[in-house]
Symmetry: C2
Subunit: 401 residues, 2 copies
């Protein structure tokens, strides 16, 4: 049992002493460096620990150091923040959160997006292939995934320019070209890889925590009309490559012990490479806000595939991992109508518009709309820890087609 944290943590703050997420921040007039969020403050790690690993503008150097080091640094930080004798020395390394700029926390290597929510996949199937089996035949045998564009991952707060593109012609004529009219969100959870692996080898499903450092929130913006026209047979491309927003704080797996849970019962016996001996389902409660109003409360608990299974599948063919690899869960949707993580589901493909408290309605996003996704998870002793948020605002694209 450690002493209480001497940094004041306001009631309801996501960043309790049990969270301690890592990010990259720039103090006013200063160079970007690694910090840890605690209450309303950011701790400058390079200064507090006198450790150059944290002096650069990304987490990658630390991510590459592996799990033993991740645990040791977390223990050191807990020590600093709970030992009253260290307060005087450490206080100068604390910045008020409002005084710093938050940046992309890691340099992404490859980005993969999965499709791991049964409720999401089945809802999309029901809309796009009515009368057929809503899930494709392989869905319960493997976590479906595809590669996205790592170069357009952006940190929360970055404006999202409405993409232009071709859409399906109504009459077989020329495809219309213009700004997307079906711009959607996808509320997702993302996983940051620290420890690399060699090409030609596999990462076992029980080695997940040796390779994945932590978890953040993701909004995988999607242009549904571009997607419908382009995606057969090679999958989504421009519909999702224009921007993917990431929360600035990466919550280490070591903060999520109390959030671990069994995934839903398996409908099919899994191949051995996907059978976990430890549970890596995560009890994360997400909230999606559109212009400040909560429009969905998806729970990650109902996700069919766990992040450990996603990683084992991603590498079962011998694909290597690099430090900074990032993969997301796909849209998090639960069984309830208010648990759907994208507008396509919430408005049932635009047929049933959302009525907002300001009197307006939405099928898909309009210019100026702002979306924020937050999440919390169980912490120790009945507390809850938070992930902060991923936020983005839609701005009009250029008209020079």
């Amino acid at each position: 049992m450690t002493s209480p944290c001497w940094v004041p943590v306001p009631e309801g703050s996501p960043f309790t002493p049990h969270a301690l997420p890592y990010g990259v921040f720039a103090p006013e007039g200063g160079a970007p460096r690694v910090g840890v969020a605690i209450g309303d403050h950011v701790l400058d790690l390079a200064r507090a620990l006198d450790d150059g690993t944290f002096a650069g503008p990304s987490l990658n150097a630390f991510l590459a150091q592996g799990r033993a080091r991740w645990r040791s640094v977390r223990a050191q930080i807990t020590g600093l923040l709970t030992d009253p004798a260290r307060r005087e020395a450490v206080e100068p390394a604390l910045h008020p959160a409002g005084s710093v700029r938050l940046l992309m926390p890691f340099e992404p290597a490859d980005y993969v997006d999965f499709y791991a929510s049964e409720h999401h996949a089945a809802n999309i199937g029901r809309m796009l292939r009515p009368g057929q089996d809503p899930l494709t035949p392989q869905w319960k045998h493997l976590p479906i995934g595809y590669h996205g564009r790592a170069g357009t991952l952006v940190v929360s707060g970055t404006d999202v320019v409405r993409p232009w593109g071709q859409t399906r012609p109504a009459d077989g004529g020329a495809p219309p070209f213009g700004p997307t009219r079906r711009l959607d969100i996808e509320a997702e959870v993302g996983f940051v890889v620290g420890t690399p692996s060699a090409q030609g080898t596999r990462v076992g499903v029980d080695d997940f925590a040796e390779h994945v450092f932590g978890v953040c929130l993701v909004n995988d913006w999607s242009a549904r009309d571009l997607q419908a026209w382009e995606y057969v047979p090679l999958g989504p491309f421009l519909a999702k490559s224009f921007a993917t927003s990431v929360s600035p704080w990466v919550v280490p797996l070591d903060a999520l012990d109390a959030a671990r849970t069994a995934p839903p019962e398996r409908a099919e016996e899994l191949r051995p490479y996907l059978r976990e001996s430890e549970d890596w389902g995560l009890d994360l409660a997400l909230e999606v806000r559109l212009n400040g109003e909560v429009v969905a409360r998806p729970s990650f608990t109902s996700m069919y595939w766990t992040p450990a299974q996603m990683l084992a599948h991603l590498t079962v063919n011998g694909a290597s991992l690099r430090t900074g690899d990032f993969y997301a869960s796909g849209t998090v949707s639960g069984p309830g109508a208010d648990e759907r993580g994208c507008l396509m589901e919430l408005t049932w493909n635009g047929q049933d518009p959302l009525k907002l408290a300001d009197g307006t309605v939405r099928t898909f996003l309009e210019d100026g709309d702002e979306v924020a996704i937050t999440a919390t998870a169980p912490g120790p002793d009945g507390t809850r820890i938070g992930f902060g948020e991923v936020r983005g605002r839609i701005v009009a694209g250029r008209e020079d087609a």
Copy 2:
């Protein structure tokens, strides 16, 4: 008119004084650095030009400097190699090609693979969807593409470990799991991006040569049985993410003036963003060798989409470019039966095995098979320039499923 090159260039060498491709090499006992191939030699550029841009282990620093600099360096190199007065000073910077190790020439950012050959796409359509239109409805309106795994791009000569994975169950039972039995090649041409672009902006189709530095050869190894089971609805994933081989030499666009040609006549009027005012079709003659025997001679001339159109499409939604972005054409197949760039086409989905000169037959690749893809293009004055080769050998995967 410049003087002749004083470095001896053997008859038939791909690396004539008009090619001058860039790569990264390590001399025996020395650190990797940038070089240019000339005949049977590699010119150490950092030393020959006394320029630190070329002292590092990748082309990226040079790629980021932009087109004016690319042209000026090419002119400098031509000057060095044709001025007899420079010979004595430059000779110590020449290494016999056989004495150096060739490495991955650039640090890849994102990797995109297109599907730009009409003949390839139509053949695949005929095999997989007999009786239907072989091309999907959008095929002639936009170059279809998807993101691949940048982290598993490997340089020519790297062994390729046969991937394991799930395949479609014959009877609706459990999907078989094991080494792929339908391991294929895809002979492709790749394009290396130098100059980046900002998120939310487009790269115009006529700005291609401002952004793309050069061209290399690609073998996009593919596991057809894994692909068939996984790819609906989000596209290929593990079937292609285990390895993609790249030739060590990047031929600058400036070497390809004589190879530029008009693409095939357009079947559909293109949206303005895809209309080129200059022709960026390329008259490249590829050869595919399996264990030394030529099995296909695909010509890039028949590709429906040009690399300039691919780049304009890739960015029309505002996706940014980074230095080191890499995109490939998709399998290069021409109209002739001997012009097909993958075994799936050459053996018509395995129904019509290839009979090799050694008396064996192949449907797909066996362990120990070695594939090499080469290409040449018209150079000035009736000469031809070469790209060298991309080569890879299949080795068995581990059996610890």
